[in-house]
């Protein structure tokens, strides 16, 4: 009986304390969900972007000495005290890095059509670097209003599948080569 009361009490406190998600959180969920997962290090840069910090105003919290990065402790607070209690993310230490991926609720909040799954260990190092490259490209193209747009592997596969399904019901439609473009020369990161 005593055990039941304690459990009930905890539930009430927990329900009362669920943080509300703000625009910054939802933008971050979109980014994480599109990439499948993000490491804590990736999030330091993502959430430290000036426009992300502007969305929070005075709540933005501490930064590191490195410009435009949030501190490790700030990221831990966001994950453990905001996102996880709201049921938006799962997180864990995997192969020496803290990883975050969206729950079903998180994916719904970000309006993404993907399934929630723990990222495979075998691909995590690769994913960490893919995220770094996306962050770099977005930063260099102006992250608040980027002149470039990233379509992640998750979207790429999703879109391909959608067109294949559509082609079955409408055989005359050919899959558009949405990725065709005039070859560019080089990445200008100057």
């Amino acid at each position: 009986m005593l055990q039941q009361k304690r459990t009930k009490g905890r539930k009430i406190r927990s329900a009362a304390g669920i943080p509300r998600m703000n625009d910054r959180d939802i933008l971050a969920f979109e980014w994480i969900g599109e990439q499948e997962a993000a490491s804590s290090e990736n999030l330091q840069e993502l959430l430290g972007r000036p426009h992300m910090r502007e969305l929070l105003g005075s709540q933005a919290g501490e930064t590191t000495r490195e410009a435009d990065r949030l501190s490790v402790s700030r990221i831990r607070h966001i994950i453990e005290d905001r996102w996880a209690p709201a049921g938006m993310v799962n997180y864990g230490m995997i192969l020496g890095r803290r990883w975050v991926w969206l729950t079903r609720r998180g994916l719904q909040t970000a309006q993404l059509p993907f399934r929630s799954r723990r990222p495979a260990e075998a691909g995590l190092d690769h994913l960490h670097h893919v995220n770094r490259i996306r962050l770099t490209l977005e930063r260099l193209s102006g992250s608040a209003n980027p002149s470039g747009r990233w379509e992640s592997a998750c979207w790429y596969q999703h879109n391909q599948q959608e067109w294949r399904v559509r082609q079955k019901t409408e055989p005359r439609i050919s899959i558009p080569d949405v990725y065709v473009a005039h070859p560019s020369r080089h990445l200008d990161l100057s």
Binding site: W150, E151, L187
Partner: protein, 95 residues
């Protein structure tokens, strides 16, 4: 997921929208895996930016370069290599 680009980066260049397939390689590619990726890339004509681990001991860059050198000249010219540790540094291109 393994044999599709890590992402497609679409940007404006001289007023036109341009796509680039972005690939990240952290370990040496086996020939069959490269063939599979190349098949995926053959679906479009966009340029391909490889961000590659440059540690010579890991042979990521040398193996990929060797595989791409076997392609015809036009196909080859789509590929550019950048240093994964320093993404703005162009390491090699086939033009």
């Amino acid at each position: 997921m393994w044999h599709t680009p890590a992402g497609i980066w679409t940007f404006r260049e001289e007023g036109a929208l341009v796509d680039s397939s972005v690939i990240v390689e952290v370990c040496a590619k086996r020939p069959w895996a490269f063939d599979s990726m190349h098949g995926e890339l053959a679906r479009c004509k966009s340029s391909v930016w490889y961000f590659v681990e440059m540690d010579p001991k890991q042979e990521v860059f040398s193996v990929l370069k060797h595989l791409i050198e076997k392609l015809d000249d036009q196909d080859k010219s789509r590929f550019s290599f950048y240093d994964l540790a320093e993404p703005g540094r162009l390491v090699y291109d086939f033009e």
